[in-house]
Subunit: 232 residues, 2 copies
Amino acid sequence: MTTKSQSKPKLYSFWRSSAAFRVRIALNLKGIPYEIIPIHLTKNGGAQFNPDYSEKNPTHLVPLFEDNEISIHQSLAIIEYLEETHPAPPLLPASPQDRAWVRSLAMDIACDIHPINNVRVLKYLLKDLGCDKEAKEIWYQHWIRLGLESLEKQLRSDSRLGRFAYGDQPGLVEVCLVPQLFNALSSEMDLSPYPTLLKILHECLMLPAFIEASWEKQIDAEGLNPRIPPQK
Amino acid sequence: MTTKSQSKPKLYSFWRSSAAFRVRIALNLKGIPYEIIPIHLTKNGGAQFNPDYSEKNPTHLVPLFEDNEISIHQSLAIIEYLEETHPAPPLLPASPQDRAWVRSLAMDIACDIHPINNVRVLKYLLKDLGCDKEAKEIWYQHWIRLGLESLEKQLRSDSRLGRFAYGDQPGLVEVCLVPQLFNALSSEMDLSPYPTLLKILHECLMLPAFIEASWEKQIDAEGLNPRIPPQK
C-alpha cells in the first residue's frame, strides 16, 4: 500500500445534516476511518456556496465524500459505493427481493421525507413564500408524519422485522431512519404512534456506530442530541 | 417454468408520473414485458388513496411493481432490483466509482428535484399555504432550474460523457432525466441553458424504449408529450 492510499477519506459534513449523518453511520458501521471537514450550512449564507466547495459539489448540498481520486455526493450513492467496496458488514441483505425491500424503506425517507424538509426548502417557505415560523413547522411535521406513518405500517407487520428493520443487524433502513427521527424529535414530535420505529431507534442508540455519528459527538456540534423518549 | 411465473409483472402507473415513467423506461430498455395498471393521481381525490391500492402501497405514491410474490415501491429501488435480476443490458456501469457517479446524478433528480415538486406538495402549496397558481409555478421551476444547472455543470465537463451521460448507452441517468425534462417542458421552461441535457434528450427520444414509455403512448394518457425544442 502506498502512503497516498493510506490517507483517510474525507467527509464534508454538517453536524445537523441528516444526509451527512447517514454517511457517518455507514462509515462507522463498516469500520472505515474518515476525516470530517465541516461545512456550516446556515452561518454567513452557508459554506456550501463557497467557491471551493461549489467547485467540488455543484449541488451545494452535503455530504460530499472524497477518497483518493473519487469524489461522490448524494448520501445514498456514497453508501452504495461503500457497500460495493467494503462489503462487510453488509448494509443490504443478500437477495434481490430483500434488497429491494430495504432500499424502498430507506428511500421512503431519503426521497420522500427529507428533501421536502431540507434547509433550502424551509428557507424558501420563509423568505420567498412569506410563511411564518408556525406554518413552516406545520409543513415540516406534516411530511415527517406522512412518511413515518407509512414506515410504521410497512415494518410492524413484516416477517423480516427483528431487533432492526431487517433481522438483527442494522443496515440501510437504520442509516436513514435514525437521522430522520432525530429531526422529528428536535421538532418536538410525538413518536408514540410509531412504536416499531421508536424501538429500532433505541436499539441503534446502544451501538457506538450510531452514537459516534450523532449530533453532539461531531467536531462542529453546536448543540446536544434531542431527548429520546423512553419505550413504553 | 410454471404458468404463474410466465405471467407478466404489473406496474401501477400514471401517464404523467415521472417516477412511473422512469420504471417504464427501465423495463423497456431491459426488454421485460409488463402490464400497466393505471392509478389516476388527481381524479376524484386520487386513486392512490383507494383502500385496495393503499393496502399494497401505504406511501400512496406510484409506481408500484408486482411480480409473483414480490411487491416493490420507490422507483429507484425497483430499478436496482431489475438491474440485479435482469443484468443485461446494464443501466449502471461496471466499476464502483462509475456506478457512484451515475447513481449520484440520478439521485440529484430523484431525491433533490422531483419530490419537492410532487403532486402532493403542489397541492399543499395551493390548499394549505394558499399560494396562487403563479407562486406554485415559480416554485416548480425554481427547484427544476437549480437541479438542471448542477446536472449540466457536472455532465458537460466529464470525460465519461458520450452520446449519453455515461458513454454511448442509455442508463440510470437517462431513466431519471427524460421524465424530469418532460416536466420542465410542460411547464414551458427554456432548456437552452442546458445544451448537454437537451442533446441527451434528443438521443433518448430516438430510442423505442423511451418513446414507448412516454406520456402520449400510455393507455391512460390524457394528453400529448410536451413539444421538444430543436437542438441548436
